[in-house]
């Protein structure tokens, strides 16, 4: 027998302190900084994702390009999508988060910083994955669902 859970304190100190890595951040799609915009849009559509990471020749993260950049920088602008490199429209030097940083920190970064996506990166720059606002929302919802299913 177990003591049943009768409260659903999802957003408490324990939840907020969990590592972002526990959300199992999906592997990110990366493109080279010299890749043309059209090709990158193709990747976004093909993978049905909202964001790609932009890397240099050494594989280091140099930027991020998301749906927001499409709306704010690409659409209604006069870029030649077949020749302009993504480096001209990406958001350079994005904020990142480590796998062992807390959910609280991720929420803080997204809320205060206004980021919808956060690359998950090790201290030496190795890209581990990408976490989005949706991943956090899904995690909260799953936690609640798990509690509900126990009931």
């Amino acid at each position: 027998m177990e003591i049943a859970q009768t409260s659903f304190g999802v957003v408490d100190a324990r939840f907020l302190s969990r590592s972002v890595g526990l959300l199992n951040p999906p592997l990110a799609v990366s493109v080279s900084e010299s890749e043309v915009i059209e090709r990158v849009l193709f990747e976004l559509r093909n993978h049905k994702i909202g964001c790609v990471l932009v890397t240099d020749e050494q594989g280091e993260l140099v930027g991020i390009f998301s749906e927001r950049d499409v709306v704010l920088k690409v659409s209604l602008c006069s870029y030649d999508l077949t020749t302009t490199p993504i480096s001209e429209v990406m958001t350079p030097n994005p904020q990142t988060i480590r796998p062992t940083d807390s959910v609280a920190h991720a929420l803080h970064m997204m809320s205060i910083g206004g980021y919808r996506h956060l690359p998950v990166v090790e201290d030496d720059g190795m890209i581990v994955g990408l976490i989005s606002v949706k991943d956090l929302v899904d995690y909260v919802a799953q936690t609640v669902s798990k509690d509900l299913s126990k009931a």
Binding site: M1, I3, P99
Partner: protein, 524 residues
């Protein structure tokens, strides 16, 4: 043929004569540098040539090379002075960039001994310092990132040089960890609940957490999904929660203990904030009264047995038996089993038990008000316990769903304005809400029916091995027994539900009546 400059070995690529001079072309063994030597056939004689000509000669020997014209200008000038050109570097290739080695990337925080963990700037409550992440059975906690290819180079002949691949990650693990694949990447997952650490065998998931010293600001609250052992105390306002079992060697002073599945044992005392009574005066308003009457959450909650040396103002809830070694004063003890303490003095407070109480002394010579409550067999049954827990769970689920759905519960016409996908999801949730309400109503009806058939144990016994003092009250339903004069033990105060009588007689062992009345935890 190889030669060496002052710095490195050179290999002869070829040589060619022109304009009374001999051109020799060399490369380094890695073909990343191209050297040229030019010797006049007649030593000391000046040679008139041009950059284009000498470049053409070099390129005919080292096909594909692109000599640096600036360097060749200097070569031409040197030859014009009648000097030899010895091992001049005229071209350079591009070296490769080695690939990044593969390695294991941890997705969780590995265990860090309290006091040694780094201070997290994200901590919002200094009591909660994260020393580790709970890793559940089956959870992926690490990824084995593959090695990355490096950047190719180009030799002096223009040919590409493939980059060296990084090395694969090397790691070890023991049999608490399983390997798998996710998204094309090798991952490590846990075979049991615990925390991640490293031993001489490599990565390891540990099911037992031992805290050396106190649970305090040094450690923060503890919440672990295995067994917890604390060698010190649990200090004020800190909470220790364990899933399987919890042991505290020291004391628990205004701290909280939780154990969802197993037993809790405290070697020292448990000091709490329980109060036994209050006086209502003419200035006590309704709000104050409600505040005073609100049942506070128990300080200690465990699904199994509970044991401690001394309790003072503590509130204990256990599904199993409660054992006191020395003393329990002014405490609230609730159990679906029995309360025992063959050497213990129990006075003040409330004791709730199904299977009886056996202590050395009950009450004290000062006449401390001590209440013993006999609980029914239904309340001890697994069925009743499960029902109550389920009903509470359903109620909480219902409240949570109502909160999530918000206005859509009371105004279903708003559903038409949602997108089809959203509407479908909301309709599923509304259906779930309805199912939960129906299920809860059925369970409540069942519980009411059960309670209506409740009967006490065939007898309820309060055993005093030493003495029961005046001031002790034993309650069984509507019946009460006041100890008006001290009762010397060993003796049993026995209640018979059928007749409603209380009898004081010679010592009789505690019993739990029929199977139905056994402590809930054994009747799972």
């Amino acid at each position: 043929m190889s030669e060496t400059t002052e710095k490195e070995e050179l290999l002869l690529v070829g040589e060619k004569s022109f304009d009374s001079a001999l051109v020799q072309v060399y490369t380094t063994p890695d073909k990343l540098k191209l050297y040229v030597s030019v010797h006049p056939t007649m030593p000391g004689s000046a040679i008139r040539t041009s950059v284009d000509h000498i470049s053409m000669v070099i390129e005919s020997v080292a096909v594909g090379s692109e000599p640096d014209r600036n360097v060749l200008e200097n070569v031409v000038a040197t030859l014009a002075r009648g000097e030899d050109v010895e091992h001049r570097r005229v071209a350079r290739g591009e070296p490769t960039t080695p690939g990044r080695d593969g390695r294991v990337v941890l997705l969780v925080q590995q265990f860090c001994a309290p006091g040694k963990q780094r201070q997290c700037s994200e901590v919002v409550d200094a009591r909660f310092i994260k020393s580790f992440d709970n890793v559940e059975k089956g959870m992926t906690f690490a990824r084995v990132m593959p090695p990355a290819p490096g950047k190719p180079g180009r030799d002096v002949f223009g040919k590409p040089i493939p980059p060296p691949m990084g090395k694969s990650a090397e790691f070890r693990h023991d049999d608490t960890i399983a390997l798998g694949m996710e998204g094309g990447v090798e991952v490590l997952s846990s075979k049991l609940d615990g925390y991640l650490t490293e031993t001489e065998k490599g990565y390891h998931i540990e099911h037992n957490l031992k805290i050396e010293g106190d649970v305090s600001y040094r450690t923060g609250d503890i919440d672990f999904i295995g067994n917890v052992e604390i060698t010190g105390d649990v200090q004020r306002d800190f909470t220790v929660a364990a899933k399987e079992s919890l042991g505290v060697t020291g004391n628990v002073a205004h701290g909280k203990l939780r154990c969802r599945r197993g037993n809790i044992s405290v070697g020292g005392y448990v000091l709490g904030d329980s109060f036994t009574g209050f006086t209502v005066g003419e200035h006590t308003n309704e709000q104050m009264l409600q505040t005073l009457l609100v049942q506070k959450e128990a300080q200690v909650q465990c699904a199994g047995d509970f044991s401690a040396s001394i309790l003072d103002g503590a509130s204990i809830e256990a599904l199993g038996n409660v054992t006191i070694e020395k003393e329990a004063r002014n405490s609230s003890l609730r159990t679906r089993g029995s309360i025992r303490g063959s050497s213990a003095r129990v006075y003040g407070g409330d004791l709730y038990a199904v299977c009886g109480i056996e202590v050395l002394e009950l009450g004290n010579s000062a006449g401390a008000a001590t209440f013993v409550h006999a609980c029914s067999d239904v309340e001890s049954s697994a069925e009743y316990a499960n029902l109550s827990d389920k009903i509470n769970g359903y109620l909480s689920a219902e409240q949570m769903l109502e909160m999530q759905l918000g206005v859509l519960v009371k105004e279903p016409e708003r559903l038409a304005k949602l997108s089809p996908t959203h509407r479908a999801n909301v309709q599923k949730m509304l259906k779930k809400l309805q199912e939960i309400r129906v299920a809860r109503a059925e369970l409540e009806a069942k519980r009411t029916e059960l309670l209506s058939t409740a009967s006490r144990n065939s007898s309820f016994r309060v055993n005093v091995l030493g003495k029961a003092f005046s001031g002790v009250t034993i309650l069984a339903g509507e019946q009460r027994f006041f100890v008006e004069e001290d009762i010397n033990g060993p003796a049993t105060i026995e209640h018979f539900p059928e007749t409603g009588e209380f009898k004081v007689g010679s010592l009789r062992p505690l019993e739990c009546g029929t199977d139905q009345a056994k402590p809930a935890k054994t009747a799972e």
